[in-house]
């Protein structure tokens, strides 16, 4: 029986090559999208699960409660971990961790500054599972000057020599006590080498006992049965005890949530941060595209069913039960789905480099190591086959042989459902279309929004401990270097603080503010404006220690009437406000403009340089040459401010691209379906068209007649798609503090585009039918 079905199925594929191609191409493309997304989602969800204790590890996140909002910060006070472990038995262990790049690492005659350096408490490798190739995870970090390096780093510095016991110099000499396997990409912690945290007291001038020093991420491992809520409650209590004035509580983030559910300040080392929302959106999109492809399949199979009706009748007369017919046609669509799967896999192989390029991942189709993938694929094909075959098979199996034999058979019964399917399909496509347009408009808006400062031709680099004044004077000798400021740059991740005290502050009222280092040249370098008072000036040497400038947002947050001359106090400093700077976007447009407090920089290791738009390459060469005169060990690296700011929207840009691809695919599949359906419907109306032409209808009139129905469907699809698209897009836009309003023009444009595409697709068939000689179609009647 199976062979009989198989033969029929294959012969049908061969006989109706066009339909089969449309059917399978649509399915294959839909499946390929689904598989690509599956790989991506699987990877996103796999982050940090390779640790044996993954389910017991939590990251401690600070929750800072200020007047109008809660801010989350990924770091916690330095001494928190040890105290928590000592006090509460349910806390098995704690780890403080921080990572750095750009430190000079030397071994023998080799030196690099591009290694990721991690630092952590000595029991790091007991809590986290990073397999050792050499050395003992339990003791590797117990000596102060020990260092554990990765396989890659061992190769880079020592070649084929045994690295164990070798010396690596990072400010001081460290002895290699372990080599770990390279860290998998699906780890949020990423380092090439790691040293004990105690060294940070020297290397980073941090005090591990100071509650006000907040520099490390704290991880704790809890006993299986303990409740993270209770523990976080207790930890909040400890913070209150040691920092009575701080409005900080904590929340315990499961380790496996770190990659996808982190949106915190100062979470700088969170490698390749992902987002649950995008995982969700993409899963939905993939399923949507597969659904569109399945609908195509159903539609075309059903449309074609007239051709199979006779077979069904004959089989029933030969003794087939309804169930036999259902099985046959389901089997047939499952077969098609599996054939499509093979093409889909080829497509995936072809497209994986593209996805990897977009996502920065190294995904591959590896079945041996990925049972989930194999099962997933089989499930995708099976479900696609079952789902897309369900309607045609139920429909076909319901034919009564008498009706077919009596030749009064018509397939009109399925017409309305088919229309609903096409409408639904186009609605999904239009949602994607609108989504893509909203993403692009928002990105465009971001690109063109006036940030309040001049970001063009400004570059930043670090001084590498050089004598700043001398370097500056040397650089300014070049007329193309317009101005130089010793300051932080706008466009860095926000990292706020509480505990600011000001004249007229109501007790207990806290604001979160952001402090920035700047010198007198800052204003000119970035072309900023003052609204009140003055900026720092060389004429007032006391500015270095006694003055601050605030932005308008800070004035509003503190509720000051005339800020200039008012006093501010924070920890050890007490200063006077000398001026108010006009608000500008110091961070990405995801965030609102926060209260900023500018302090006068003093020997700050960062430089901002505004250069002329003329002769940029020459200026850069000059910069490097001059810099090299002052700096020995380090290579010269710089970053343009506009590129840096652009990088804030990297994720969105990627998403935009991915959506663009998806939308094109969806449109393509939907059009394939429409094309097939249109050819079918015009075929069925050939006689009607013939008669109309004989009666004197014009070609244009007939095209109109045939296109009108499709036009109606597309319009209905638009009306269904609009509210859904609006809600989803609006939700996405909430990620931005500064966002576009979704204008009517986007909807109208998408409707017009869908309509044009659909009409072009349909009109090919319509024109073909309309210009055909009526005699041909009528002769056989």
């Amino acid at each position: 029986m199976f062979k009989n079905y198989l033969k029929i199925a294959l012969r049908n594929i061969k006989k109706y090559k066009g339909y089969s191609f449309i059917n399978m191409a649509g399915l294959a493309v839909g499946m390929a999208c689904c598989i690509l997304l599956f790989l991506w989602v699987q990877d996103e969800l796999s982050y940090d699960r390779f640790h044996e204790n993954a389910d017991e590890i939590y990251r401690v996140i600070s929750e800072i409660h200020t007047a109008d909002k809660i801010t989350h910060n990924a770091r916690t006070p330095n001494p928190l971990g040890p105290v928590v472990k000592e006090k509460y038995p349910e806390v098995i262990d704690f780890i403080r961790y921080q990572g750095f790049v750009g430190w000079l690492v030397q071994a023998g005659d080799k030196s690099f500054i591009n290694d990721n350096l991690g630092t952590a408490d000595p029991s790091f490798f007991e809590m986290f599972t990073f397999p050792f190739l050499k050395g003992d995870p339990k003791t590797a970090l117990s000596e102060r000057y020990s260092i554990v390096i990765s396989e890659n780093m061992a190769k880079k510095y020592f070649g084929h020599e045994d690295p164990m016991g070798k010396i690596i110099r990072i400010g001081k000499d460290f002895k290699v006590t372990g080599v770990i396997r390279n860290i998998p990409e699906n780890s949020h912690l990423h380092f090439d080498c790691i040293i004990p945290i105690i060294n940070m007291e020297y290397h980073w001038e941090t005090d591990l006992k100071d509650w006000e020093d907040i520099r490390f991420y704290t991880y704790i491992q809890l006993h299986k049965k303990s409740s993270p809520e209770d523990v976080s409650e207790k930890i909040s209590g400890i913070i209150k005890e040691h920092l009575p004035k701080s409005p900080t509580k904590v929340y315990l983030q499961p380790l496996t949530d770190v990659h996808l559910r982190s949106d915190f300040e100062a979470d700088l080392d969170n490698y390749n941060q992902g987002s649950m929302a995008y995982v969700f959106i993409f899963t939905m999109t993939a399923l949507g595209i597969l659904l569109i492809a399945c609908i195509n399949f159903m539609n075309l199979s059903t449309a074609r069913s007239a051709n199979r009706a006779k077979e069904v009748g004959m089989r029933k007369i030969a003794g087939a039960q309804r169930m036999d017919i259902i099985k046959q046609f389901l089997g047939e669509s499952i077969l098609l789905a599996f054939i499509a799967l093979i093409f889909a896999l080829l497509l995936v192989e072809l497209l994986l480099p593209l996805l990897n390029g977009l996502s920065g991942k190294h995904l591959d189709l590896d079945f041996s190591g990925n049972i989930q993938l194999l099962l997933g694929l089989i499930a995708i094909a099976l479900l696609t086959g079952l789902f897309s075959g369900s309607y045609p098979s139920l429909f076909l199996s319901s034919y009564q042989p008498v009706n077919i034999m009596k030749k009064d058979f018509s397939s009109r019964a399925s017409g309305s459902l088919r229309k609903i399917l096409v409408v639904f399909q186009f609605a999904l496509t239009i949602i994607l279309l609108i989504g893509t347009m909203v993403i692009y408009s928002q990105l465009n808006y971001i690109q063109n929004r006036d940030l309040g400062f001049d970001k063009d031709h400004v570059l930043e680099f670090w001084t590498a401990h050089a004598d700043y004044e001398a370097l500056k004077n040397e650089l300014l000798k070049n007329p193309n270097i317009l101005s130089i400021a010793n300051s932080e740059t706008p466009g860095r991740e926000p990292w706020g603080a509480t505990g600011l005290d000001w004249d007229g502050k109501i007790a207990g009222e806290e604001i979160r503010f952001y402090s920035t280092m700047a010198d007198p040249d800052y204003l000119e370098t970035l072309n900023l404006e003052m609204v009140e008072g003055r900026f720092f000036s060389k004429e007032f040497p006391t500015d270095v220690t006694q003055a601050v400038v605030v932005n308008e947002a800070a004035v509003r947050a503190m509720g000051m009437e005339s800020p200039v001359g008012k006093r501010l106090r924070f920890r050890e400093w007490e200063v006077t406000i000398i001026g108010v700077i006009k608000d500008f976007h110091q961070t990405s447009l995801h965030n609102p403009i926060e209260p900023l407090v500018f302090r006068h920089s003093y020997d700050f290791p960062h430089v901002l340089a505004k250069i002329s738009s003329k002769n940029v390459p020459e200026t850069l060469v000059f910069l490097e040459k001059t810099w090299k005169k002052f700096v020995k060990h380090y290579p010269f690296t710089y970053e343009f401010l506009d590129e840096k700011i652009d990088n804030f929207y990297k994720t969105e840009r990627t998403i935009g691209k991915v959506f663009q691809y998806f939308t094109s695919v969806a449109i393509l599949i939907a059009c394939l379906g429409l094309f097939g359906l249109a050819s079918f419907m015009t075929e069925r109306r050939t006689k009607e068209i013939g008669i109309r032409k004989v009666l004197g209808a014009k070609v244009s009139g007939i095209i109109l007649l045939l296109s009108r129905e499709f036009t109606k469907w597309i319009l209905i699809a638009n009306i269904i798609a609009w509210p859904v698209a609006y809600l989803v897009a609006n939700e996405w836009l909430q990620n931005f503090a500064y966002r576009i309003n979704i204008g009517l023009e986007i909807f109208i444009f998408s409707a017009a585009l869908a309509l044009v595409i659909a009409i072009l697709t349909v009109s090919y068939q319509a024109i073909k039918a309309a210009i055909a000689n009526p005699v041909d179609s009528l002769r056989y009647e």
Binding site: G313, R315, I317, G319, M405
Partner: protein, 220 residues
Amino acid sequence: MIKLVDITKYYSSGYVKTFALRDINLEVKEGEFMTVMGPSGAGKSTLLYILGMLDTPSSGEYHFFDQKVHRLSEKQLSELHKNHIGFVFQSYHLIDDLTVYENLETPLLYKKVKGAERKSKVAEMLDRFQVVAKKDLFPNQLSGGQQQKVAVARAVITNPKLILADEPTGNLNTKEGQEIMELFKELNEEGTTIIQVTHSEKNASYGRRIVNLLDGWIVD
């Protein structure tokens, strides 16, 4: 074998009822060769479909051996049909995408006949109907007479007790038609009950009994 009591069949479209059969009372004995005749639209096909359990009467009783066919479910009907009845149509109705061999095999597959037995049965039929050389051809590669031979072979391959033939020679030339009628005669002599619809007096003469239909009534 067959007993029809007051069988009526009508089709309703809107408020209008079209009667295809009215108060048909008919008895057919096992081993009979009966011919149904009458003008176009008289209800001949309808009668045959009802006898073949492919259609159900609007009212009346249908007894097939000891079974009350009018009381059976669709599934039971199709079970009964597949075990006892073979059908032959004017326009052959072979499955276009299957070869002669596979077309013959299909009823056996639905009866879940085992592989070896199936092969020998099909071979026997191919031989008997002299289409061995055509076994790998598709229906549209055969002449009408050959197609109808295959259709008859397909109808008898399951050894049905009853063969129903609706104008089996209508699309054939005289010689081909005669061949088919000879086949029916042979089958009838072997004990198969045959009911055929035909317009040709000559074909009717193969049967031993003629029933005339007019406007859904049996007339004498």
